[in-house]
Symmetry: C2
Subunit: 146 residues, 2 copies
């Protein structure tokens, strides 16, 4: 029921709070955690449209990836210390869609997700990633608050 968790994270504070719940779920049988970060390809597009100067998009993308890898490494270490099997995935795309795709691909038992993400602008424009995941997921979802 709680054996394999999908933990989508945008590295926000509320997202990090979800880690505490995951650790607690170990006692309810969690063995494996899939940590997923989706780099929002639309965000980079927005920035390049908004920016006055011509931006080095490739470099911006590379910085995002490096940041994601660093954050992922820290989460992986923290969860491994708690005795979970960990798989990390960094994807590029549209967060809620890729979260739902990975949910199917990995055949997880439950999703643990923060109620609100980091990207205020995107969430106001496009609706909360979490809300879409909650609405469209085929699996149970634990929504963690700030």
């Amino acid at each position: 029921m709680f054996e394999k968790i999908l933990y989508p994270t945008d590295f926000s504070d509320v997202s990090k709070k979800a880690l505490e719940y995951i650790k607690k779920l170990k006692m309810a049988g969690t063995k494996e955690v899939i940590v997923l970060h989706v780099i929002d390809e639309r965000e980079i597009e927005h920035i390049s449209h908004l920016a006055d100067v011509s931006l080095d998009i490739k470099r911006l993308e590379k910085e995002r990836e490096e940041y994601a890898q660093k954050e992922m490494g820290a989460i992986e270490a923290e969860l491994k210390e708690s005795g979970f099997d960990i798989k990390t995935r960094i994807e590029k795309g549209i967060p809620f869609r890729d979260i739902l795709r990975v949910e199917e691909e990995e055949d997880i038992s439950v999703v643990v997700i923060g109620s609100h993400g980091k990207s205020c602008i995107n969430e106001m424009l496009l609706g909360s990633v979490s809300e879409k995941v909650i609405r469209k997921s085929n699996k149970p979802v634990l929504v963690v608050r700030r």
Copy 2:
């Protein structure tokens, strides 16, 4: 983190599936479960408006209450057998509002709720109770699927 669960139920199948998750959460520290059923006062109003013949509203209400009490009794017995402390509450009002009110009153740790309820007509007209609870809750919510 999972010590005191609020379990709002409309006695639907998906709502009953949530019981299995609650039992599993015992190992993650759940001690007490508040079982809440809210009799939707608007539903009885709708019926009295739709009905061609004059209905005995008092009798209809009494039947609802008796049904709720019977279902509650079964849930209470099942959860007690699993070793939880149980409190049952049957309220009359507007489900999502009363769920959020009881959430505050009882100072619970987490809400466990089914993704969809029984009342298809009301949910189509007024939106899903679960969605509103998820959006407005101050506490973490575990959403269980069919």
